[in-house]
Symmetry: C2
Amino acid sequence: MTLEPQSAANQSEVVKKATLAKQAAPRLAALTTEQKNRALQIMADALITETPSIIRANGEDLQRGKDNGISQSLLDRLALNEQRVSAMAEGLRQVVELPDPIGDTLEEFTRPNELHIRKVRVPLGVIGMIYEARPNVTVDAAGLCLKTGNAVVLRGGSSALSSNTRIVEVLHDALSRSEVPVDAIQLITDPDRASVDEMLKLNGLLDVLIPRGGHSLIQNVVRNASVPVIETGAGICHTYIDESAVYEMALQIAINAKVQRPSVCNSMETLLLHDSFAARYLPSLADQFSGLYVELRGCPKARQFVPVIKEATAEDWDTEYNDYILNVRIVDSLDEALAHIRQHSTMHSECIVTEDAVHAARFLQEVDAAAVYHNASTRFTDGFEFGFGAEIGISTQKLHARGPMGLPALTSTKYCVSGNGQIRT
Amino acid sequence: MTLEPQSAANQSEVVKKATLAKQAAPRLAALTTEQKNRALQIMADALITETPSIIRANGEDLQRGKDNGISQSLLDRLALNEQRVSAMAEGLRQVVELPDPIGDTLEEFTRPNELHIRKVRVPLGVIGMIYEARPNVTVDAAGLCLKTGNAVVLRGGSSALSSNTRIVEVLHDALSRSEVPVDAIQLITDPDRASVDEMLKLNGLLDVLIPRGGHSLIQNVVRNASVPVIETGAGICHTYIDESAVYEMALQIAINAKVQRPSVCNSMETLLLHDSFAARYLPSLADQFSGLYVELRGCPKARQFVPVIKEATAEDWDTEYNDYILNVRIVDSLDEALAHIRQHSTMHSECIVTEDAVHAARFLQEVDAAAVYHNASTRFTDGFEFGFGAEIGISTQKLHARGPMGLPALTSTKYCVSGNGQIRT
């Protein structure tokens, strides 16, 4: 697809940088694994060497953030120190160790007319990343995209602009000492939201958009982009404790799913309890959660068992709290649990705790989610926990990639067809 | 995701029918291959039995089309006869023979903590098909979606409304005599374009949209949908004849790529000729094409070799003619050919004709297209020619599926995780 001609002087930063990325893409696709790994090593070394200047730039962001009165949790996510920069460098070194999927032959066959067809993995091309304040996403995304031969256009939150600018300067300098074109990594520095809107419509220059961040950021991209999107994130995850569950296992799984890290997408928001299990154990379960400072909101029946439970509103069942709050609903059957999940799930991660093999099999088969668990915490939905060695995000859509996305999620394929003069009749 | 509550009375046809489809989806996902195949057989039989009533309904469309003065080629595509209805039934029987991808285990591994993880193929859920006047797409899409356990919401061109309505009545009646829920197949009968616009934004009810038809239909969907889209179709395909090509092979491939069926997306629009090859053979090639009633439009150099060639405008190089017109450009190197393709290709199908193995390898590696050919006609980009036994379309995007799409392109995956009480630490 050819874009409208536009004189360079009139081009926005987004178009200019996306064009540079697109021009670099064919050269990136042709790099060997060794060339890419050497560049990743140089990038990692450069981050370590330049730690002081990166922390200095981060200090500007933190000061501006404080002046603008942004929240403490946002400041925490934004803040870099020696340890965090070192972790970013270490992340790049881990990407070096991962197998390079590019060039892999996925299928190969010869047709009766002797056409030889090979389906091979190729880069997606140019990936647009839209994210929030965490500067480590800048390095993660740059490393994963480079390893998969993709160019990347980064648009991080404006609150991290100084940090991101310095980090990308450091990475560019590193690339200039490698065989990878410097244009492989582009950072959009225009803090205006219009630059995001522009990226959403950049068909022909961007091959895919990956939004990472909160609900409103992701929904803005999903709702308004004409560039293909990989939707990540939102998780209203349920744990269903079946009649036959072992109490101690159910308790540990439920507590882990809720409080091990409540702020993340694979944590539990709603606990579904079978009636007879609830009759025996809900008071004890509720005590445990209260002891962990978890506020419980429940259905009328749950409140009959444990009157201190607050009443859950209709909205609560559809809310991703990412906080120390938990909905509790009593159901009288597996079917009722499945129906609740069907209605309220964001299809991220869902769990059944049961000793009943038939119920477990039905749950795994019938629940439509990226990851469905039997007798394990939903917190395991994660690229590292799945053994992928990296994670660009967790896809909650059904196209292309679903669940934790490792390197293959950043690739496409093409058919290479070799003949000896075949024509179609 | 929960949709805004809306009283049934106020719901549009699109929302009503998409809701029915979504409610049917879990039951469809649980069907056995045998249940689906039996339904497909009953559907095929019903089409044969009901051929007269289908042709009668088609007659109404044809009459209305003539009254409205639609083009002869559109009338041709719309028209059904006994043979065409029989071909639709035969298509369903062929789908019966295809392996069912649903339930396949794609990966299976056990983590060090003993979590057992299985990646299995599942249906996408509800597929929205937006297409034009050809009633056979109604049957094709219904059959392929059913075999893959998906519900489908069909929105065909209004010019085929009577045909599609009768066909779907016949298919519904067939399903009512099977174990497949009748709601698996939904037809939108509202001829207003607003019903298409509504489908584009139906996140939460539709899992994917597949547009099939001309450029403007597809671009409307790509540009305006918030539901994930599989882009199909547009093909500005090139054939590059290298210096070392064998004339007779190059001639046959070029003729086949242009005239075997000019109206389709994998036919050639532009012929690139190496300078020295052109010097020897362009006059003869041009004669051959003229003899086949192909109008040639060329670059200045081509017109020096063959003065009767018309001058190609800047726009011509970016036009999918789907007609007996061919652009001809002389290039002085493989690099110039690659640069032209990079600039003008829609990344559908591209071909090099050469005896030079190094040039062939470079072309296959460097050209970024769904299918890249060495010494064979681009016309082979087709699900049947690739041996997939079916084709829902040819994807020209890089996400999810690229190139001819067989049954696996209509599936997603999920991770089934089995544990014995694992929690994350």
